[in-house]
Symmetry: C2
Subunit: 469 residues, 2 copies
């Protein structure tokens, strides 16, 4: 099995595993106790905090261990908003933050706060001019990830921090995808990270609050972890997390270069060997280990299943997977194709041969899936244009009713029938599938047809209009 889902969870680092086993023996007692076992746990906890602080370039007393990366990210945003509630209840988050941050933002809204979701470009990077315009006198905090977890694009953290600093607003950085791989640019006030993303165990997150930042815990009072995280501190897991971070931070440059070259191989080769593919995310300013692409006319879940059967564990931002009926909010915010989406994120140490094997099996897997729906040959089965005159936009020459049918069916139907209308004529795809709003324009981009726009469907759903090239 080739595990290509490191962005979800990196397998436990061997050094972390050994440290974990030792710390289960030595560090299980309450580090707040004064007896021998407690003091020993405290020493381990202090050492772990120093290791993490050292890698992050902060002071140990700025570091609190949380019970997950999600908790760290949510506390980071909510605690910073609460700490500045006298300034105002407005927060700004990028539209492509991890759902942990977006759900925290929604909780803030549900309690009377206001959130602006700042836009990103087609590459997934926040638009700094838009961000600057989103800042207000009552903005209590801004949240921006260090790098996007689905497409790998690095965010302009340093520039965003400058914008925020000029207005005295703290910047909260969800650095879950980059800590342990690449340094987080300076200028942030609060940072969150997740140990199991860097080869530590699950159950440990890191919340860093820089000195001078106002932070008010949204959780019940607890004297532990600088009063930021209630509950018994999980010392063995924290020790393992710190050991993993120390291990991966050492020599990460070399491994980053190696993985980045493998990612480049995927970025370059996939569009060469698989027709109708869109590789998304910034090709240069990106995480070293992560690449995302989408395949036209392919059901995301079917693709994951076929890859799993071929021995590859990947994830997908497509809507048509068993866990969701809506496409990834990241792909949506970028305005890119969502069907047949595959995220490959390489764990440290991924053998080159596994990537080559992936590239070897992918074309046939995609072709087989397309064969089932009659979209196997290069692109769509476009027929000769009939001689019929072009209809105006108000009355499409052809309406494809795909109501009730899920991604990728609407796009498959569109591709199958675009040849039924004349060049310059308009075809309407009637759909109630969320993904169609993204995928119809993306399909037009990829095939050279013109996306005209959408209007409410007369019999429900939305009519997406496409003019044949």
């Amino acid at each position: 099995m080739a595990y290509f889902d490191a962005a979800s969870s990196e397998p436990l680092h061997p050094a972390a595993r050994s440290a974990f086993l030792s710390a289960l023996e030595e560090g299980w007692a309450d580090p707040a106790r004064q007896y021998h076992d407690g003091r020993r746990a405290r020493l381990l906890l202090d050492a772990a905090r120093e290791t993490v602080a050292s890698v992050l370039g902060v002071r140990p007393d700025e570091v609190s261990f949380t019970t997950s990366g999600t908790q760290a990210a949510q506390l980071a945003l909510l605690g910073t908003l609460a700490g500045r509630r006298r300034v105002g209840a407005h927060g700004v988050v990028s539209a492509v933050e991890h759902s942990a941050v977006l759900h925290a933002a929604e909780l803030h809204e549900s309690r009377g706060g206001e959130i602006t979701r700042t836009v990103v470009g087609r590459d997934g990077r926040v638009d700094l001019a838009a961000l600057a315009a989103d800042l207000r006198d009552d903005t209590a905090a801004v949240a921006l990830q260090s790098a996007n977890h689905e497409v790998g694009t690095l965010q302009p953290v340093a520039e965003a921090a400058e914008l925020c600093a000029a207005r005295g607003i703290p910047l909260v950085v969800d650095a879950a995808q980059s800590v342990g791989r690449i340094a987080v640019p300076d200028g942030w006030s609060v940072l969150a990270a997740s140990a199991h993303k860097w080869g530590g165990p699950a159950g440990v997150g890191v919340l860093v609050v820089r000195k001078g930042t106002r932070y008010t815990s949204p959780l019940p009072y607890d004297e532990r972890e600088a009063r930021r995280v209630p509950g018994f501190v999980n010392v063995p897991a924290v020790v393992a997390a710190a050991v993993a971070l120390g291990a991966v931070a050492t020599g990460s440059d070399e491994e980053n270069l190696r993985l980045s070259a493998l990612v480049d191989r995927i970025r370059v080769r996939v569009p060469e060997i698989v027709p109708d593919v869109e590789v998304v995310g910034d090709p240069v300013a990106r995480l070293p280990h992560l690449v995302t692409f989408s395949c036209l006319y392919v059901d995301g879940e079917a693709l994951l299943t076929a890859l799993d059967r071929a021995g590859f564990a990947v994830s997908s931002g497509s809507s048509c997977t068993s866990s969701t009926l809506t496409p990834s909010h990241v792909l949506e915010a970028m305005g890119v194709l969502t069907q047949g989406n595959v995220r490959v994120s390489l764990p440290r140490g991924t053998p080159e041969a596994e990537v080559d094997r992936f590239l070897a099996v992918l074309p046939k897997i995609v072709a087989d899936l397309r064969a089932v729906t009659g979209t196997a040959s290069a692109g769509a089965p476009v027929a000769e244009a009939p001689e019929a005159p072009a209809a105006d936009e108000g009355s499409p020459a052809l309406v494809l009713d795909t109501l009730g049918r899920r991604c990728p069916i609407p796009i498959i139907e569109l591709a199958r029938h675009i040849g039924d209308i004349a060049s310059g004529a308009v075809i309407a795809v009637l759909s109630d599938d969320e993904a169609a709003r993204l995928d119809v324009p993306a399909w037009c981009d990829m095939t050279g047809h013109e996306y005209v726009g959408e209007r409410p469907g007369e019999t429900g759903g939305v009519a997406y209009l496409v003019r044949r090239a």
Copy 2:
């Protein structure tokens, strides 16, 4: 080292340790993923949930795994209060709940809610008549622990549940101290527990919400764990927790009887071999493994340190320990002596010989500490009563100024000088130490003098008045 602090954290059960190691290999991936490693993690998680549900006698889909017992207890109270916020914002908690629950209650108050802290007797048990009187039409939830974590007293959960049910109010039970040892009585709606208290690893709590109970998560949305606990599920730790629970639940009756006999030995012997000791908590309706006693004229921290040096790890609810300047809220609510407090909680498998060794060394340790302050001989160094006439209560015959001095000094001074006044005369102890409010009356109970009451001190602090017997 004899570890007698199981109520804080039970050492990891050997079966849990093996399961943990296996699950770190087999269960590290995201159980929400559809690929092989994810499905394997999901199977382990499902099996763990079934084990825990089976031991607790509930349905698996009623069980959510949290990231700590503290989180479970706090979600239990806050989620139940939020689920019934249309009924009202009033909650009732016992005054002797774990601080995790009390801090959650304080957060509820800080957000505009109202909390009644229902009283307990000198044995630490809630007063059911008082509880009944505390219930109101706008009471959204009641929280009552299954057993007290500091003194071991079992709470009348079944009776409280009946009172609540009669008024349609859900009962929240923090069962952290009893799950895995004794069954929780029926009738509750929401239950919280903590894996590292039963021999599982840290980082796992259990939140059970019975069907039909309204529960609204106070945390950001997350689809995992029945939408109750955000973040990546820590499958390896959950697996280990479930294995530990299954292991300790099997055959716990026998071990309970054995530990209970050891606790009885401590309960009976300590007052026989150590003068001026108060053993607190219900002697019969109690946890099998836990006993608490307090020693007059002894500094709690010094006692812990001396016991640690002698090879015993215990905890203390005294104020004079390094982590706090206020005495345990449990001892305070019970109105019992707080100085020289020792909680002994025996882990499963504690050898009888360790308890006997504890009983062998304790008298000399206490005597040595008392010798330092001149209170070594049986009780206080009471002199002959002088012939002076008794003063009235308004003007004490003697005022002891102990302002700025911490527990147990005010009581030591009181014991040293009670003999300076005549029988029937009043001595005033002027103190600004929180513990004095509890310890002066407790000292009077133990020595036969009469506690008259308190009044504001003229030069600050509080004057506690004692009439010599």
